[in-house]
């Protein structure tokens, strides 16, 4: 398992080195070199691991006893390398490497110390995510899960001088923490019922029927709460659009391979548990569909390119969760992979555009196809993949998810997701046409991205196009997994890909006609839907509900409890103190300090004893 250890050791060593040696961290470029070397080692090791697992055709587990128990099984720490985790590790290391290379250029205007700090955080973040992926038990998953949260907090709030950035970082941290409470409770419930944290043992117990009933349902529901927070499911999606305050490459990383991917990855990982809890699976499915639709609708009225992409991530995560809930985890995982490619691509493209024109507003960009041909071509590839147009990666994975949902017998959910796919294509097309074409000249002097930015773009663009064909590998990956997925993977009805293509093309054509050919006036459409647009712009009032709950419920309750603590609890303590103090003030006068007063008392005591002894 030396390869699996190396996967973790690379970024950890880079983080430790940069963390412990401040001169190295503050030196700028060398710090970046250390971090990139670390993640590079990790990527090579991850590829070696995946190759080995694939050749062996069986998962590989290494574990050490962490907390020995006198009764019951001991708590172990370990690395689990199967098709799922090894391929995910490759994906994480790969995206992290590309993002770090891209950042060399994107962050070059940062002062040297903060440049080094940026790479230190990146190493920590990559280490945390890889540890989460390779964890072989729930407890270890939870530890790295929180580390991922910390990493995202640090990176979203990287420009902590900006109040919005530090607010967004806190919001991300607290919102995901809210779900993580459920995660912790779920782990404890499962442990107290099954007596183990390990995935393999949990799956064995649930298959054998030793783990069942309310405990299983509550445990899985708790874990799903954690996944909701991380994967930005309704109503915990509110942190993701705000997280755009971080540097754009960080958004690419968070949206593609780390953080939000963690929730879906966890649901895929515990798919055997989910398969035994149809109640929870239904909730997962319903919330997934709701999230997909709401987020897509909010993206329609957004003008900030990064926020459009953020809402599209939330929406795509909804698709993945819906697939998980519908019992098609392999489709969800497939989409997780393809989505990682094209969403990282789109964010890096957005970074490249923002870098060139210094604005996030798509309506202030335009006429960039001639000036930035590579970036725009990559944008087109990413947009097509996100819309799910044949033969890009997004088409295959979305098709599989839709087929899975239909096969699970959710026609209504299927219809909503299909419409959502159309909306996705529309807003993606809108962002593309408005930002790169149109009649507005971009401000300043835009220029093509430099090589370190262009290279990751091209690599990802190629992958975003071809990864779907390679997706046939995915069932093979699951064959070597610790939980071979016995899902009914029959051939989807022919109309599923047809409908998906129609809805995607319809969305794109509508966007093209509206925003590029001026076939109709989008502004007029917007006006005629006035109240609805307001609702969308207020993001379905979810943020307001959270704020209201905070301000009018949580604060009020806290104040009441605070009053009780200050005046009742503290009051009792203060009264006792005061009484003691007063009594002591009276009693102290007995101590005259004269030795003969004490002797009088002694003599009186003697007389008393004699009297009591003899009765006189």
């Amino acid at each position: 398992m030396i390869d699996a250890v190396l996967v973790l050791a690379g970024p950890l060593a880079a983080f430790a080195l940069l963390g412990i040696v401040p001169p190295l961290r503050r030196s700028g470029k060398p710090a970046a070199a250390v971090a990139i070397t670390g993640i590079g080692v990790s990527l090579v090791a991850a590829v070696a691991l995946l190759t080995r697992i694939h050749a062996a055709g069986a998962p590989s587990i290494a574990e050490i006893v962490w907390a020995p128990m006198t009764t019951g099984p001991s708590i172990t720490l370990g690395l689990l390398a199967d098709g799922l985790s090894a391929s995910m590790a490759v994906l994480v290391a790969f995206i992290a490497l590309l993002v770090q290379v891209y950042s060399l250029s994107y962050m070059k205007d940062e002062p040297k110390p903060s440049f080094g700090r940026y790479y230190t955080y990146h190493s920590l973040f990559a280490f945390a995510m890889l540890g989460l992926v390779l964890a072989h038990n729930l407890l270890q998953t939870y530890i790295f899960w929180e580390l991922v949260g910390l990493g995202s907090y640090l990176l979203i709030g990287f420009w902590f001088e900006k109040p919005e950035a530090s607010r967004a970082a806190l919001k991300a941290f607290w919102t995901t923490r809210l779900g993580d409470v459920g995660f912790a409770i779920g782990i404890v419930i499962l442990w107290s019922s099954a007596g183990t944290f390990t995935f393999t043992e949990l799956f064995a117990k649930v298959d054998g029927g030793a783990l069942a009933g309310t405990a299983l349902v509550l445990g899985v529901a708790g874990i799903y709460l954690g996944a909701m927070g991380k994967s930005a499911q309704f109503p915990f999606h509110i942190w993701l659009p705000d997280a755009m305050e971080g540097p754009t490459p960080v958004s690419a990383l968070i949206h593609a391979a780390t953080m939000v991917a963690a929730g879906v990855y966890l649901m895929v990982r515990i798919a055997p548990l989910l398969a035994h809890t149809p109640q929870v699976a239904t909730v997962v499915f319903a919330i997934g569909v709701l999230t997909a639709f709401l987020a897509a609708s909010m993206a329609l009225v957004e003008n900030d390119i990064k926020r459009i992409l953020a809402f599209s991530t939330v929406s795509q995560l909804g698709f993945m969760m819906a697939a998980c809930g519908a019992g098609a985890p392999s489709a969800a995982y497939f989409h997780l992979v393809t989505h990682a490619f094209f969403k990282a691509l789109l964010f890096l493209v957005a970074g490249s555009l923002i870098h060139a024109v210094h604005t996030n507003d798509i309506f202030k960009m335009g006429r960039l196809t001639r000036i930035m041909p590579v970036t725009c071509a990559c944008f087109a590839a990413g947009a097509l993949a996100l819309s799910g147009v044949f033969p890009t990666a997004g088409f295959f994975s979305k098709d599989e998810m839709l087929a899975g949902v239909l096969a699970a017998g959710h026609p209504v959910g299927f219809a909503i997701l299909l419409v959502t796919a159309g909306i996705t294509a529309f807003y993606t097309g809108r962002a593309f046409f408005v930002a790169t074409m149109g009649s507005t000249d971009s401000p300043g002097h835009p220029h093509e991205a430099p090589l370190p930015m262009k290279l990751p773009l091209v690599v990802l663009a190629v992958l975003a196009v071809v990864a779907g064909v390679g997706g046939r590998l995915i069932p093979g990956l699951f064959a070597t997994s610790i939980a071979p997925l016995a899902e009914a993977h029959g051939h989807a009805p022919f109309f599923v890909p047809a409908l998906a293509t129609v809805s995607a093309l319809a969305g794109l054509v509508l966007a093209y006609v509206g925003y590029e050919r001026r076939g109709f006036d989008p502004a007029a459409v917007r006006r005629s839907f006035g109240p609805l647009v307001t609702v969308l712009e207020r993001r379905w009032y979810v943020d307001d509900v959270f704020e209201g709950v905070y301000r009018f419920v949580y604060l009020k309750v806290s104040n009441a409890i605070g009053w009780f603590d200050r005046f009742i609890v503290d009051g009792v303590v203060n009264a006792v103190t005061w009484g003691t103090w007063l009594g002591a003030g009276r009693l102290r006068t007995l101590q005259s300090g004269r030795v003969q007063d004490a002797l009088y008392a002694t003599a009186f005591g003697l007389v008393l004893i004699v009297w009591l002894a003899w009765g006189w």
């Binding site: 006068t589 101590q591 005259s592 004269r594 030795v595 003969q596 002797l599 009088y600 003599a603």
Partner: protein, 99 residues
């Protein structure tokens, strides 16, 4: 000379000593009164030992006297120190432990 008479004398001496301890204001006077009380006790022990024909009582009293000497040495040293530090050997002046 009966045991009863002896014990009455011992009790009388003890009472005088106790009165002295409680009433005297001078530290050396108090120490003297303590000696009186000690000797009253010694007398009582010797008297009881004599009436029972025991030699043990005499031995015990010898020990008692030796300890008394040591105690007086310590006591006088303390009085000496008090006179130097507090410039007074009157007990009413030495009341620093007043609450």
């Amino acid at each position: 000379m009966t045991l009863g008479n002896l014990l009455v004398v011992a009790a009388g001496v003890f009472a005088i000593g106790l009165f002295g301890v409680l009433a005297r204001r001078h530290a050396i006077g108090v120490l003297l009164s303590i000696e009186l009380m000690f000797n009253a006790v010694n007398l009582a022990i010797v008297a009881i030992a004599w009436s029972k024909g025991l030699i043990v009582g005499v031995v015990l009293v010898m020990f008692g006297i030796a300890i008394t000497v040591a105690e007086i040495a310590v006591g006088l040293a303390l009085v000496l120190l008090a006179s130097r530090v507090a410039k007074s050997v009157v007990l009413d002046d030495l009341s620093e432990l007043k609450g």
